[in-house]
Assembly symmetry: C2
Homo-oligomer: 134 residues x 2
């Protein structure tokens, strides 16, 4: 079912500083920072040859990554995103196997403009998994 | 400096159960479990079209992932591995910029038979970073 690793998301308190780490220290290609008010985050993508790292900084009062950063003051890997061909078919197959889908269970349009869902970390090796329709 | 994302490593208490999650629930291709006594882990690779997920289970009394699993009982993402062309040049460049290399600072031969180094999470957005010579 799962295809490519679309991205690994790293939550940070200061995205300008994190961008410098990836651009200057690690010598990677990075995009400009884009505020995503619908998602409560500002994003920068680190463009690697085979996939992306998504840097996330909280935006607004109810950011979904605020609690994570309270527990992880230095930042840390927040989630991992796998591509699927058909997100509804993937969801229904996963639910049929007992996996828990977060939120309403209906796909939302994610930061890349494509339908996404999040799966419960306890069902996936302690890892928050995002599925994105490719 | 950094090139491809070589793998994302997920530490788990029970690699047989984690392998079933990736093979059966998520429908991915997985390798057999391989004990790596020199590294204190047993590994399974989940082979995605563009990169790999490395599942790690502690092996032996002094496993380097034992403490992580004490803090993360369900498992979790342990580190992320980027490829570099020349690990000595990369190390020296990073040290010159003030980044901390873990252990002796000399590369070891990693689970893939190639030279690897680990970088201090506090210098890299709270993320344990492995560098592997491609």
């Amino acid at each position: 079912m799962i295809g490519r690793l679309n991205h690994v998301a790293i939550a940070v308190k200061d995205i300008a500083s994190a961008t410098k780490v990836y651009q200057n220290t690690l010598g990677a290609k990075v995009t400009d920072a884009v505020p995503q008010p619908d998602h409560g985050v500002t994003t920068v993508f680190v463009e690697l040859p085979n996939t992306k790292i998504e840097l996330l900084e909280p935006l607004g009062a109810d950011s979904p990554i605020a609690k994570f950063l309270e527990r992880n003051a230095d930042g840390g890997i927040h989630h991992i995103c796998y591509e699927v061909d058909d997100i509804i078919a993937a969801r229904d197959q996963l639910k049929g196997q007992g996996a828990r889908v977060l939120g309403t269970g209906e796909p939302r349009i994610g930061a890349h403009g494509k339908p996404v869902l999040f799966l419960h970390p306890k069902d996936f090796c302690g890892t928050l998994v995002e599925l994105e329709q490719a």
